[in-house]
């Protein structure tokens, strides 16, 4: 269920009213921070992405045309900001070590310490190599097509598909290994 922001808050943000901007930020920041954290290497990067994204949102709020929930509009800007951040800091240039990617025992048991399932799942996603993780986040969780992902990341469409397949397989293994999910008896291949 998307977060609903009142029109008066949006209008206040357009008028650059500080109180309205702060309310707007407080409503959406926790969810957007979780999105940024899924893309980022660490929490500091996630906060930088969130900061850049919200600056863009609040300075461009007057271009929001009210054709859908404002959360979806904000989310799109935040995701683009995350991708641009990774590109700018050359974090997407990490070479995917296939041996690393195939060997799920490489990850440290202590990296996932949170009790809550949602946070555990997030940490499992963050174990993936950055390239796989980015493609997986964009396709599976943000709903972008492989064509759009290819344009955003300046890669080929087939590269996007293959990276997603490998990411999905790897993530499934991690989740099963941690006991968060169980394999289906008759699982369909991706």
């Amino acid at each position: 269920m998307p977060i609903m922001i009142g029109q008066e808050i949006i209008q206040g943000c357009i008028r650059k009213n500080s109180a309205a901007q702060e309310s707007f930020y407080k409503e959406l920041a926790p969810k957007m921070m979780a999105i940024c954290y899924r893309f980022a290497h660490h929490r500091e990067d996630a906060e930088d992405m969130l900061q850049e994204g919200f600056i863009k949102v609040l300075t461009q709020i007057h271009t929001f045309e009210n054709k859908g929930p404002v959360e979806a509009w904000v989310r799109r800007i935040i995701v683009y900001t995350c991708i641009n951040f990774l590109k700018k800091h050359k974090k997407l240039d990490d070479v995917v070590d296939l041996d690393y990617a195939n060997d799920i025992s490489q990850y440290n048991e202590n990296t996932i310490t949170t009790a809550l399932q949602g946070k555990q799942i997030m940490e499992c996603i963050r174990i993936l190599p950055i390239g796989y993780r980015t493609v997986f986040n964009l396709f599976a969780l943000e709903g972008y097509s492989h064509k759009e992902i290819a344009d955003m990341l300046s890669i080929g469409e087939s590269t996007s598909r293959s990276q997603y397949t490998r990411a999905k397989t790897m993530l499934e293994s991690i989740l099963i290994d941690k006991g968060i999910v169980e394999p289906a008896k008759k699982a369909k291949s991706a």
Partner: protein, 439 residues
């Protein structure tokens, strides 16, 4: 497929359901940094407004408060009351130079030279001591005593006020008696010179003007186009074009209306400050067409864009004229130099800096792919700075001066903010016509 809590899911559906409610609280410092960035930068504008609001009442107050000029009250008036027991203090006061000269040079039956008036030039309310007067035989058997302020003291100590004219006559008489005509001349001239002249002026003016502009596209964005859309003839076409050639524009007639206060620094220089309302107009030839206007820009070394719906295009069949207008409030702060003066005519050169605030923007901007026009108010900077120079031809009347002044005004900063990567600089040519009142 995977199983969680005995339910089967596709992995993506399971993750979407879990992540939908996933939240994390960022640190408080994040919002502090964001709010600093998005806060409107109006502080220097408020300081300028505050300074002007202080300067205007200060100058008005200074006009009305009597200011001592060389120890003489400048609002002092000559009394015309010549009779009665009158201790009215209003009388022509002499400046210290005149007083001293009068004292020093007057040697006819004078008391030992001393101050004829109190040091501050204002008659003491307790009266003047005997030693502060000179006595003179008035030829009618009376000994008249004269104070430096021209009151006449009779032998019976009745004080009378002497009209200014009568005072001059008295001084002439005294000087004549002393056979020192030079004293009378210098004293009389000093009194004339002591007439109050204010340094402040009030001005009202209007400037019909024609507004022009020059556009320049962002080379960095064009280079990104080339890199991303390689071998795209359309993109290459944009890069090869001059954006000014794409926009078919006609200058319009605008105006400035203002009010200002001047402060004279000597005979040739004047400082000025004021408030001014500006109107700029121009028209653009376009064609009716529905589409999406894209505005690309480079930020943090990445190509980004915003878009909005458009109803006009640069090409088509149904031609229309888009009227553009914008309204501003500005605060000219300037200086003027009067280089040539003859009789009532003078020629001056003025320059000013004008912090400007955009009140309303009804303009259209070209999309960065040069295809559409859409509303430009979202891209315009609220604050800007203009500079102006003019050559004024002045005629000074008794209480008022009139002038006309050809003026060139140039906008120093880009019209648009960072979201719009095509830069615009404006300038105006106008004829300023005004009237000045000197207090």
């Amino acid at each position: 497929m995977i199983i969680n809590n005995d339910k089967e899911y596709e992995l993506e559906d399971f993750l979407n359901e879990e992540m939908e409610y996933s939240k994390m609280t960022p640190s408080a410092a994040v919002w502090e940094r964001i709010s600093r960035e998005v806060k409107p930068h109006y502080r220097w504008g408020i300081w300028a407004l505050t300074l002007l609001m202080l300067f205007v009442p200060y100058s008005l107050v200074m006009y009305y408060i009597p200011v001592k000029n060389n120890g003489v009250a400048s609002t002092a008036k000559a009394s015309t009351n010549t009779s009665g027991n009158n201790t009215d203090k209003s009388s022509v006061a002499l400046n210290s130079a005149v007083r001293n000269e009068f004292n020093n040079k007057n040697n006819a039956s004078a008391e030992p030279a001393g101050s004829l008036v109190s040091d501050d030039g204002i008659e003491s309310s307790t009266g003047i001591q005997d030693e502060q007067v000179i006595s003179e035989n008035n030829g009618a058997g009376q000994t008249e005593k004269y104070r430096g302020d021209l009151s006449v003291v009779h032998a019976d100590s009745t004080w009378l006020n002497v009209p200014q004219n009568a005072g001059i006559e008295q001084m002439k008489l005294t000087a004549k008696l002393n056979k020192k005509t030079s004293i009378h001349n210098s004293i009389a001239n000093s009194i004339v010179k002591n007439k109050k002249t204010s340094k402040y002026t009030l001005e009202v003016y209007a400037t019909p003007s024609v507004s022009y502009r020059n556009l320049s596209d962002d080379k960095q964005r064009l280079q990104y186009y080339r890199n991303i859309y390689r071998n795209n003839p359309f993109t290459d076409n944009i890069a090869a074009k001059n954006v000014n050639a794409v926009v078919n524009e006609k200058a319009g007639l605008g105006k400035e209306i203002g009010i200002g206060i001047g402060y004279k620094l000597g005979a040739k220089w004047k400082l000025k400050a004021g408030l001014q309302f500006n109107e700029r107009q121009y028209s653009i030839e376009a064609y009716k067409a529905i589409g999406t206007a894209n505005y690309a820009f480079v930020k943090n070394n990445m190509l980004d864009s915003v878009s909005q719906s458009a109803q006009y295009a640069t090409m088509g069949t149904n031609k229309v004229t888009l009227n553009n207008s914008l309204y501003q409030l500005s605060m000219p702060l300037g200086i003027e130099w009067y280089g040539f003066k003859k009789n009532k005519f003078s020629v001056g050169v003025g320059a000013s800096v004008q912090p400007t605030y955009l009140l309303q923007d009804n303009t259209y901007v070209l999309s960065t792919d040069y295809q559409y026009y859409s509303k430009g108010d979202k891209f315009s900077r609220k604050w800007n700075v203009n500079s102006a120079i003019d050559v004024s031809f002045n005629y000074s009347g008794k209480n008022y001066s009139w002038y006309f002044a050809p003026q060139y005004r140039y906008q120093l900063l880009n019209t648009y903010n960072d979201l719009y990567s095509i830069k615009e600089r404006r300038w105006d040519l106008g004829l300023k016509i005004g009237i000045i009142k000197t207090f």
